[in-house]
């Protein structure tokens, strides 16, 4: 019978000399879900992936992947997983299409299957224009596309994605994420790390937030936003465009922790008391004879929840 649990981790720890990179983490992921792993740089995300993909041996604790022990059954695990690493990986002496073909060959994929899949993937990832280009001559974005596409030449039950969309433009990134979603509908399980929180929100069914090697929370993106997105923001625009004097006055308002200007030209004032801040912004604008053209309370984003979780953790430490 197929297990409902894809990954089970219990008190998993990894130490490098005196440094603890992953500190007794425990979590489970279900088959057929996209499980996100979010954390600041150096939080322990990649080390966790390396242990789950059997590249690194845990210092202590237990982990099973697809019901198999990561220490004693590494080879069996690796036969059933795919990995897109955070770092580039490519065969510099080969052309794009050939490198996909040889990668499939190494995995033991039959020739006819390789050909069909590679043609599909090249089409799907928009790689036609560089299918004959040597890997060494590809741009970083093209190389990343190749790296992601190449992993789908072979079969797998579980895919580890470590920051897979780094270097991709917005359109390609959305295309890649939609491709992942399709594969998940087809039964694939994905373990996904990213620093782009919109991606996690778009793709993940559940998210674990990790900081300093420890898991702080595991929940759905919606619940994380609801529970920890208490810090909100007031977004407003001026008819006159921008005003340095108004910026100074808004920053001085009680409850405003941060004021930033968005690309659109509007302002975003981060605050835990938006209802109290709005009248203050109006008064400041009137005093400067400026006109507010729009003002509203922005909904908490996953980023707000993430920042809140991580900064709370830092404060507690």
């Amino acid at each position: 019978m197929k297990s409902d649990i894809a990954i089970s981790v219990s008190d998993l720890e990894k130490r490098f000399d005196q440094k603890t990179a992953v500190d007794r983490i425990s979590f489970e992921t279900r088959s057929g879900e996209v499980f996100g792993f979010l954390g600041p740089n150096g939080a322990g995300k990649t080390t966790t992936i390396k242990m789950l993909t059997t590249l690194l041996r845990p210092s202590s604790g237990k982990a099973t992947v697809l019901g198999l022990n990561v220490v004693s059954e590494g080879r069996k695990i690796r036969e059933r997983i795919g990995v897109v690493q955070q770092q580039d990986s490519f065969d510099q002496g080969l052309r794009t299409e050939t490198s996909m073909d040889i990668y499939g060959f190494v995995w033991g994929v039959p020739k006819e299957v390789r050909k069909r899949r590679i043609d599909d993937l090249i089409q799907r990832f928009g790689m036609q224009e560089f299918r004959k280009t040597p890997c060494a001559d590809l741009s970083s974005g093209q190389r990343r596309r190749l790296q992601v596409a190449r992993e789908f030449v072979h079969d797998m039950d579980l895919l580890f994605l470590d920051e897979p969309t780094v270097g991709l433009d917005a359109i390609v990134r959305r295309n890649v994420l939609d491709f992942f979603k399709e594969r998940v509908k087809g039964g694939l399980t994905i373990f996904f790390t990213t620093h782009i929180l919109e991606e996690a929100e778009y793709l993940c069914d559940r998210i674990a937030v990790i900081n300093h090697g420890r898991i702080i929370q595991v929940d759905s993106p919606q619940n994380l936003k609801r529970r920890f997105g208490s810090t909100k923001a007031v977004e407003f625009s001026l008819l006159e465009g921008t005003s340095a004097a108004l910026e100074e006055k808004v920053r001085a308002l009680e409850g405003v922790s941060k004021l930033a200007q968005e690309q659109s030209g509007s302002y975003r004032a981060t605050t835990s008391k938006p209802e109290a801040v709005i009248p203050g912004i109006y008064r400041a604008a009137e005093g400067l004879r400026l006109t507010i053209s729009s003002i509203y309370i922005a909904e908490a984003t996953l980023e707000d929840a993430f920042i809140s979780l991580v900064t709370d953790e830092e404060t507690r430490k």
Binding site: K50, T53, T54, L55, L56, R75, R78, E79, I81, V83, Q85, Q87, D88, S89, F90, D91, Q92, G93, L94, T98, S99, I102, F105, V106, W107, G108
Partner: protein, 253 residues
Amino acid sequence: MNVYARLVYRNLRANLDRITVFFELIFPLFFIFIQGYGLGGIIPPFEVGGVTLSYPLFLAAGAVTLTVINSGTNAGTQLWFDRKNGMFEQILMGPFTRAQYILSIILATLILGLASSSLVFLIALPVLGASLSVTTSGAILVAIAIFLGTMFFGTFAIAISVALRSSETFQIVSTFAFFIFLFVSTVFYPANLAPAAIRAASLLNPLTYTTDIFRAGLFDAITPTIVLELGVLSVEAVAMFVVAVLAFRRIRV
């Protein structure tokens, strides 16, 4: 298909630069045809293992064994490229073991060593062909010499590739090390006529035994010491293989 065959095929396709391989073949041919004939006029024929050889012939046989050093460099380069380009970790996260991966590099190196030495040998035939008398036992000795020599220098290059952190350092150190191996050996001159210090150093050098065994097989100049030389070369090749495997197991990912 067998997992080793798949990995070896990949190593040969993905990590071997055709231009580099081309120049690695040119290099020994340059010695054979330019240096051999250039110095042949001023160096009189001399005796090696009971057989009198002209200098071009002596050098041609030595130059063929140069290919084992070139193939060895390729083993280190294969591993270096894979580490630099992220394919080392990518392969190890696939359905392969570290042992399979490292053995596949050594196998690819052996194939390359045997193929390139055969090719150089064929091209050098106009020089060598003059007095070739290869017996069955001689052919076996030739094959063993190339096999063990490639094994030693391949695993040596893997070991230094693991130990060094930048490709530039790897290139400089391997070139310097192979330069010493080359000139403190019997490739260019018979070591028994060299000063005592060089003669002693050449007795530690696996390229000396590779070349001596190769020449002995090629010119049917087999002496009683050949068994001892085979033994020393085998021990050195196996020892270096163990060192390379131990070094490889310590690579941190």
